[in-house]
């Protein structure tokens, strides 16, 4: 498994020039806007969703069949992808913090807009990145990268359509049983925690679905 994680990390390492360009762009944009949130979160979130890029590259170079010739079970191959994502969570958080420090001490010394709120935002966005991964992974394992975009889009559009039709007949904001102020307060207080719990549950479901999809996959 370690070899596969290293393989994906090497792929990310090979994209370092692009990541630096993205950081410079996001930094310039942040300076223009007077808010450094974008500069802090852009590269870490890109890194966190890079798991999807590794699937794409494997598909582009048709290396899936070759991977299955390694002395690894299919379960180990799927597990390595999820472990890689966890490693990326660590790396992206570290890089996010380094950017934070870089801005605070070098780029804009004493900038008072940097605070724990911004780090919380970084974590929120990273966890959202993990959520995207956990939705994408099983679909990619099942359908491959090319098709999975269409599959995901069709699911999203379908859900939006159903939601829109239902909203014509049911206005949830007028349902007496729901105290919307309480809901908003809850999100403000426990948003990060709730999102983390949601992502953990989603990741477990995603892992199980990925295993099931990959178990039956032929290359």
């Amino acid at each position: 498994m370690k070899g596969l994680i290293i393989k994906d990390l090497l792929f990310i390492k090979n994209t370092w020039k692009n990541l630096i360009l993205i950081f410079i762009g996001s930094l310039l944009l942040s300076i223009a806007l007077g808010n450094y949130l974008l500069a802090i979160v852009c590269v870490p979130v890109m890194l966190l969703t890079s798991g999807i890029n590794t699937f794409q590259t494997d598909e582009f170079y048709n290396s899936d069949a070759y991977t299955l010739s390694y002395p690894l079970s299919r379960k180990e191959i799927v597990t390595s992808k999820f472990l890689f994502t966890l490693v990326m969570l660590g790396i992206s958080t570290y890089i996010g913090c380094m950017i934070y420090v870089l801005i605070y001490f070098i780029i804009h010394p004493g900038y008072n807009g940097l605070n724990t709120y911004m780090l919380r935002e970084l974590l929120m966005l990273e966890i959202s990145g993990l959520l995207v991964d956990s939705i994408f992974y099983p679909i990619i394992y099942k359908y491959g990268c090319e098709k999975s975009r269409f599959v995901l889009m069709s699911i999203i559009i379908l859900l939006l359509g159903i939601g829109s039709i239902l909203s014509v007949y049911i206005n949830v904001f007028k349902i007496d049983a729901i105290d919307w102020n309480a809901v908003i307060n809850f999100i403000e207080q426990y948003g990060l925690f709730s999102l983390t719990v949601l992502v953990v549950i989603m990741s477990i479901i995603s892992y199980i679905l990925s295993l099931l999809a990959y178990r039956h996959k032929d290359y």
Partner: protein, 279 residues
């Protein structure tokens, strides 16, 4: 036995492998021949569990298939290798964390012998160099079996010859073996011990190369000669514009010496089996 396949079946919508049974003994090079789409790659992928078989059994080293047994198998696929943005050093780093028996020393010696640059992206290597790299990767974890799907396609005769020599050296210890799928049958004429001929998902024959050469001969007849020829002696024939190519049993060779124009090759036999007609 290093590889044993028993009654393997795999069905697709428009193609199926039917009841395939093959053996790859220790110390042997077994050639898998057949036209494009005959089922060679599917069979190899089923052996390696890259594809799921519908039924049948695959034994590796006399044991039921398990992922870890692949530690002793080196593979080269026709159309699948690693991410080609990697360089040779990256490959070494990855592989030494995948195979317990990976030998960096052996791998880098191959690279030196083949003049493959260590820092060049593998997508920038020539076809020949890439194929040599794939074979070097397959050999550098000291496998007992090589499973190779079209390892020499697209290569010039000199590189092909070098690669075939490597396979012969590999089986010299009488323990290792090679399963080599190819449609360049001339490659097998010099190195294969056994030849398995697959066509349309079925095994046409599975015989020692020596026996094939002893059993079949291809003769060439004019249209008039064909009309008068003893049809019972014909296994398969193919009508061309100017002549007939006829596959006969070699035991009848002496009777028909005058019709033998060339040395019979595996290609001739394969062509007549696939394209030829029964009498």
């Amino acid at each position: 036995m290093n590889i044993e396949v028993e009654n393997l079946c795999k069905k697709f919508e428009d193609f199926s492998l039917e009841d395939i049974s093959i053996k790859v003994p220790k110390g042997k090079i077994v050639g898998l021949i057949g036209e494009n789409g005959a089922g060679k790659t599917t069979l190899i992928k089923c052996i390696l569990d890259v594809m799921h078989k519908d039924s049948g059994k695959v034994l590796l080293f006399d044991k039921d298939y398990k992922g870890k047994l692949k530690e002793d198998i080196g593979c080269v696929f026709d159309d699948s290798f690693m991410n080609q943005t990697f360089n040779v050093k990256d490959i070494d780093l990855i592989m030494r964390n995948i195979y317990k028996n990976w030998s960096s020393k052996k791998f880098f010696k191959f690279m030196k012998d083949y003049d493959i640059p260590l820092k060049k992206e593998i997508k920038k290597l020539s076809t020949g160099m890439l194929k040599k790299l794939e074979i070097a990767v397959a050999l550098s974890h000291n496998p007992k079996v090589l499973i190779l799907d079209e390892p020499t396609s697209g290569l010039d005769p000199i590189i092909r010859s070098e690669i075939l020599d490597m396979f012969q050296n590999f089986v010299e210890n009488k323990e290792n073996s090679v399963l080599l799928s190819t449609h360049i049958t001339s490659d097998l004429e010099h190195i294969a011990d056994d030849v398995i001929f697959i066509s349309k998902g079925k095994i046409i024959f599975d015989k020692p190369l020596k026996d094939i050469k002893e059993q079949y001969t291809v003769i060439e007849l004019t249209h008039d000669e064909f009309a008068k020829f003893d049809k019972k002696a014909i296994i398969k024939y193919k009508k061309n514009r100017l002549d007939y190519q006829v596959l006969i049993a070699k035991k009848d060779k002496n009777k028909y010496t005058k019709y033998i124009k060339n040395i019979t090759t595996l290609d001739d036999i394969m062509l007549l089996y696939i394209k030829g007609e029964d009498v």
